[in-house]
Amino acid sequence: MNELFAVFLGMVLINNFILVRFLGLCPFFGVSKQLNSAISMGVAVTFVMAVSSLATWLIRHYILIPLDIEYMNIVIFILVIATLVQIIELFIKKTNLGLYFSFGIYLPLITTNCAVLGITLINTNQDYSLSGSLVAALGGGLGFTLVLAMMSGIREKLEMANTPKSMKGLPIAFITAALLGLAFVGFSGII
């Protein structure tokens, strides 16, 4: 139990996906203009991360390791993640249209989000158990959502702020991201 908690905390804060591992930077800047869309993106990513780490754990342990073809991790994981995202999209579209529209364009975009491939490869490298992989995925997703929400909150304020004209928009967002990253370095080594 303690170990799982350490994995969770490590994924949320110490090895945060965006600010420490630098994975999933595209939605970090692309979808962080408004708090609402940032949170929906974060929830969608967390969900896909959890499902795909479950699926890839099963595939790795029941197909790849017995057949001794672990070197094909990446290509098979990409295949599986793309399939999962498509299935989830189809499923949501057919069962809950409201949810489908609130996810909007973000759901198919997750296919190419490197944070999702990242969590499956991290699980593989660290050789987590099934529960460990799930906890790591949930923690990673939560950390992703947390940083996205923080960034979008700051950017919403920045829109109002009196920034110099040449710094408006992305330049000031990059600087903000750098400061946020510095803040997260402070978490390193607390476990």
Binding site: I59, I63, I69, L79, T83, I87, L90, K93, K94, I105
Partner: protein, 281 residues
């Protein structure tokens, strides 16, 4: 062997998607119309209508067919065939000529150049330095950001005046130049517009425009008085003329009467310029 496994997993994934597609029951009704509309729309997801994509636009249209008059899809309006299909799908009559919009650059281009700009040759860069290098801070800078973005190649730079001119024959009214222009000079006007107003400052209070630009509207009301057909209304709030396209007979009296030559015949504006430019080349 590994290739076989990869292929097998790929096939299995495809099969699962197919199974999910046919097995999961279609519980949600009401998407049929959206899908019908989506098949008519161009599917370019250009976003000019203000929705994130053609599917979202179709969804909005299926709920409120009136929307097509407010934010029409400029691509569909160009194509009579798909327009007819859309009319059928929405169950309402569409007048393409009334909905169709054209871009108009609200600048006459007589503002003096007051300094020598040698920076990056884009309007965006130039506009950040004290709103450009012309006397009027609202003037068209003529560095061609709109020319670059126009997918139809409908915009050209008039080398004499250094402003952008739009050829209404080529313009589809997609509105990409409207968002691109850093001076916010370009506006989509109805395609049937007869008189173009070539000046960009609107609020009457705190206008730095008049004393800085030699070409702008001086609010003399001469056009308003000259019109014999009551086609021009004088907006007291903004102190600018408003044109009634139905009453206008295109007698061009207001154009000749305007002391600042702020008015121009919109039906000829872009086409003549384009012909001149082609001849010059």
């Amino acid at each position: 062997m590994p290739i076989g496994i990869l292929a097998a997993i790929g096939l299995a994934c495809g099969l699962i998607i197919y199974l999910v597609y046919i097995k999961v029951p279609q519980k949600v009704k009401g998407l049929e119309k959206t899908e019908e509309i989506t098949s008519i729309l161009p599917g370019m997801n250009c976003g000019a209508c203000g929705y994130p994509g053609c599917f979202a636009y179709a969804q909005a249209l299926s709920q409120d067919p009136e929307l097509i008059t407010k934010t029409p899809c400029s691509q569909v309006l160009q194509d009579p065939d798909s327009l007819a299909r859309l009319e059928k799908a929405l169950g309402c009559k569409l007048d393409a000529a009334a909905l169709c919009k054209k871009a108009l650059v609200h600048c006459g281009g007589n503002s003096e150049v007051v300094c020598n700009y040698s920076g990056a040759p884009t309007c965006k860069a130039a506009a950040q330095l004290l709103r450009g290098y012309k006397k009027c801070p609202y003037a068209c800078l003529g560095l061609g950001d709109c020319v670059e973005i126009c997918p139809q190649g409908a915009i050209a730079i008039d080398p004499e005046k250094g402003i952008a001119v739009v050829n209404p024959d080529k313009c589809t009214g997609c509105g990409l130049c409207v968002t691109e222009c850093p001076q916010e000079l370009i506006e989509l006007v109805p395609a049937g517009t007869k008189i173009g107003f070539l000046c960009n400052y609107k609020p009457l209070k705190n206008i730095p425009g008049r004393e800085r630009c030699d070409y702008g509207c001086i609010h003399c009301r001469k056009c308003f008085k000259a019109c014999e057909f009551e086609a021009i209304d004088w907006n007291k709030e903004t102190a600018l003329p408003e044109f009634n396209q139905e009453k206008c007979t295109l007698c061009l009296k207001c154009v000749t009467e305007c002391p600042q030559s702020t008015l121009a015949d919109f039906t000829k504006l872009g086409r003549e310029k384009e012909a001149e430019l082609v001849a010059a080349e």
